[in-house]
Symmetry: C2
Subunit: 298 residues, 2 copies
């Protein structure tokens, strides 16, 4: 029996719960608050926010399942003559307090049209304020392991896709050390819809494991005021990426999505200094040197 | 004799100097530092930044005069078959420390193609963290006086244009209390190129007079920590407008402009809280109630 949209919706909802439980455990102090919302036109969501935890300054885990008519603009955009759509997904961004703990983002999503066309999309990417090569290797290896379970071509393909997607042209920098990004994924040679669905669930389940480990490795490292300042600057770049380039953010804002759930990805606090310069041979410069496409972290 | 592009460039450069001198006087402590830059492809600019003055936390006054070949994308965008362009202008954004002093923005610009087509554009708009009706009236009246010198239709037309332009759809708020905005302005019934040029210079000269007055009126007002927090939130909205909607910012970033000069408009520090709410009957709510199009401030 084929999986239904409700199966996917239910699974994603459970993944949201699992992630929140695990991340609360990793943080040790913060608790997620809940915001249920409905969408004019059909469906709704559940936004969960943790603020001022022991590790996390601001963390959002959003689940949504929405449906509705496709307007002309959307039909054109999707190059379809279908009349209605259904979309469900989980979106996460977490901003830690300690600049030695990385920012992380994850998204898994499923999209379906009423003419039977469907696809999965998603990704996980890591944005360390200070790149730690061992952590980067651990992060990418973990993603590769999940990818390899399904298709040997997934990791190299989706890793390159992430490098290209999470890129800030006007800074000539990647947002962070990348990860994986995929879209329009449907059944193809040797891989069924069930397996692609399963791939997305595995990524959702991997998320708290990987991030908890990165938290544990770095949460007790001390930091200076200037390292904190650098974190605010890097968060500024994160804001630039999300507001100028991120397709999900742009699509959400343009299509009259729920603003607070879309912009939960922004850090609590960010800074911009004119022509901010870092010292030669500093840790900041070392990180800048690694914000490039095409690095093999494994 | 007709005015040349060099006349306009020189006048705008002098206006930049005048503004910096007057704003240093108004601030009383801060000094503008200079950054001269050249543009690959032709021309360059002079960015002046004042940081951590007595009143101004971050203020940028940018002058540029650039020229070059029109690539295919730009030809299409401008619907022209001209081969080369020249553009000069002054752009300003000032972020004060005290939340009772408003954020201000000004731009005057001139654009010319090698087929003889030209136009002027520009605007001034005010973004108070707390709207003061008297200040709003003073600000709009000052703009109207300059507009009326040239054309009785300018103020109502350009005021409406500003309301529509400086608007944040995903917040359903105007950026601030508006001002004037105009574009594609060229000689027309009764108004010569010289007069339109003169209008833009008058706006440039008006800027420091008006802003100095607004600084004087509000610089010594005391503020609480929660008012400071509100300022950071309003600055966050300013960032959202500039990065998501502002055409000058988007065009600059896309056309490989000088990133630091474009993004000098961003505040030194901004904040985003999930679902930030203000108290009923508070000054913050009063301001939100006035962030609407179509208010007659005079």
């Amino acid at each position: 029996m084929s999986i239904s949209r409700n199966d996917i919706k239910d699974a994603y909802q459970q993944i949201q719960n699992h992630i929140c439980t695990q991340i609360e455990r990793a943080d040790g102090k913060g608790r997620f608050v809940s915001d249920h919302w409905t969408r004019e036109g059909g469906g709704g969501g559940h936004t969960r926010i943790l603020s001022h935890g022991a590790v996390l300054e601001k963390a959002g885990v959003n689940f949504s399942a929405v449906e509705g008519k496709l307007d002309e603009r959307l039909k054109k955009h999707l190059k379809t003559d279908a009349d209605a759509f259904f979309a469900t997904g989980v979106s996460i961004v977490m901003h830690p307090s300690n600049p030695h703990v990385p920012i992380i983002h994850m998204n898994i999503r499923y999209f379906e049209l009423d003419n039977g066309i469907y696809w999965f999309g998603g990704g996980i990417d890591l944005t360390p304020h200070y790149v730690v090569e061992d952590d980067a290797k651990f992060f990418h290896s973990s993603l590769k392991t999940v990818c390899d379970k399904y298709d040997g071509s997934f990791y190299p393909k989706f890793k390159t896709w992430a490098d290209d997607y999470f890129f800030i042209p006007h800074r000539n920098e990647t947002r962070g050390i990348g990860g994986i990004f995929y879209d329009q994924l449907k059944e193809h040679e040797g891989l069924s819809k069930e397996e692609i669905f399963s791939f997305s669930k595995d990524l959702g389940m991997l998320f708290p494991t990987v991030y908890s480990e990165l938290i544990e490795r770095n949460r007790n490292r001390s930091f200076s005021e200037s390292e904190k300042e650098w974190q605010y600057v890097r968060r500024g770049r994160y804001v630039e990426f999300n507001l100028v380039y991120d397709r999900g953010t742009k699509f959400g804002l343009e299509s009259n999505g729920r603003t607070e759930s879309i912009l939960m990805s922004l850090p609590e606090q960010a800074k911009w200094f004119y022509n901010y310069q870092v010292n030669k041979d500093s840790n900041e410069q070392h990180t800048l040197d690694l914000l490039k496409k095409g690095i093999n972290w494994i």
